[in-house]
Amino acid sequence: MEILEILLSASFWAAVVRIASPLIFATMGELICERAGVLNLGIEGIMVVGAFAGWMAVYSGTDLWTGVAVAAVAGMAFGALHALLTVVFGLSQHVVGLGVTLLATSSTYFAYRLALPEVTSPPRIAPFEPLAIPVLSQIPILGPALFAQTALTYLAFAVVAVVAWTLYRTPLGLALRAAGENPAAVAAQGLSVTGLRMGAVIAGSGLMAVGGAFLTMSAFSSFFFEMVNGRGWICIALVVFGAWRPGKALLGALLFAAFDAFQIRLQQTGIGQDLPYQLFLMLPFALSILALVVMSRRASVPAALMIPWRKGER
């Protein structure tokens, strides 16, 4: 009975879309990288950087959209480092990715401590306010979920459309996908595999950082240590779950967010009181693993993913 009540409440579906938003940004970012042939394990740290940079910019006096731009640029800087090491120098994408995550996370915490040395609780900013779209937001259940969100959530959905359109309807997208499937063919066309992959990693990292910024600038209004809390790793699982396709990845993110929103509400019901809360917190991670296992059989992984491209080498 309680479960049905949860599923029929408008606030539940609004929460689903809200929880999905940062995941959508970061999943699209990772998807672009992987379609071009680069696994970006820097995602977790880049989200931390984005969360901090955007929030800090606004706290220092810029407007919210400038903050989003600052977050994106900060993420792109770490993306450029990742791309330099994995694409130009062809180093292990696993090791470099984890290194970038460590570097990005620790640099953020260092900067936070320097910027706010004596604070016990982080200051708040005025975050993005929900933007209700007239008429549409009046639709029962669906209205509040889809048409009374913050501008950043609308942007997240727009990003999916742009990424899908670019990947499948433009020459750039074709070249990018080819760089992840058959880089030799791309090079034979006279295109630069290195350039395409670097561009993908840098652009993708920018999106990951905006996903992080969503947490501090839309979902919450301050920056906390460990607030990203594994979301980056979950997005990597979502890319696999979405079979490297933007639309499916979007569905995956929404499905995942639905489970997450559901477990938060379930904790407050009679069933939730009887079970340890850690069980609920484990659910997102367990679900991600389960999704990986279920999808593994029909995985359509880009053929050249994680294989460095060295010109002239076979």
Binding site: L39, L41, L81, L85, V88, F89, G90, L91, S92, H94, V95, V96, L98, G99, V100, L102, L103, T105, S106, S107, Y109, F110, R113, L114, P117, N229, G230, W233, I234, I236, A237, V240, P276, Q278, L279, L281, M282, F285, A286, S288, I289, L292, V293, S296, R297, A299, R310, K311, G312
Partner: protein
Amino acid sequence: MRLEPIAAPSALRLLGLPAAALVATILAGSLLALIAGADPLATFGLVVKGAVGSRFALLETLNRATPLIFTGLAVAVAFRARLWNIGAEAQLYLGAVVTVAIGTAGLGLPAAVVLPMMAGGAVIAGALALLVPALLKTRMGVDEVVTTLLLNFIAILFVSYLIEGPMKDPMGMGWPKSERLPDALRLPRMIEGVRLHWGFGLALLLAVGVWIVQTRTTLGLAMRAVGENARAAAFAGIPVNRVIAQTALISGGLAALAGFSEVAGLKGALTRDLSPGFGYTGIIVAMLAALHPLGVVVAGIFVAGVFVGADSMSRAADVPSYIADILLATALLTMVLALMLTRYRIRRD
């Protein structure tokens, strides 16, 4: 530009490039100190003094190095066979759980029996914890990087549940921690009067053990072959999947011993902050050691020294201790690049 393999790298290249990586790391650290408004030389002085400047500092560094050597070995063994074990953190915690569970069970057996049981139980728990992702990898093609990363979060939440629930210390005044191990079941000190427990000795012993396995046994050869080229290894008749499973058992067991050693040697009880990321730092240790088991000992002590030194420095100077993590991440990235450049030459097209 392109990269051209070098057939026989010169000694200058082999030594100079890693040294350059260290110099770059130190320069980065100096820059950070300047940003924080401190004198770089004085800052590094304080770090070195805090790490090895006194008998107390040195022992603190060796104690801190102990779990890092275990997790570093775990990562080095796994990475050598291209099994990407990023889950040493989870294996460490599961090892600690089993250590405490056996140690506080009140078996009434002598310590000489129970301590090996604790260590053995920890090893089994850690080994199985990595066997699952390894089997998912070999049987179903599920990427072990993501599964082991996600399992870290699950394991820590599991520990949190245990120490707030079934394993909670009734005498803990509501604090989420497990019961303490009886004194008889604590690892003794290596030398009387010196604050360094036998976990460190065990870590050194295992580093040598891993080195012997890797260089002197068929399994070691097979692990290396699988890591170099799994397809070629399969053609040569090496049972690749079985070797990966065996690697997982060894690697997971080694990481779990970090948990055993921290609980039985140092902390005495299980808490949620037992490991401040020893599992992840193990990756840095292993990479700085170029995956060599004996190098892991040196790298583990070095990394521990940076952490201990930076902690002590940040108490004296106004430089946040996170500088240690930045330095180590920088060292990791520059060292990986330097090691690659010992084998490849950059050519302009």
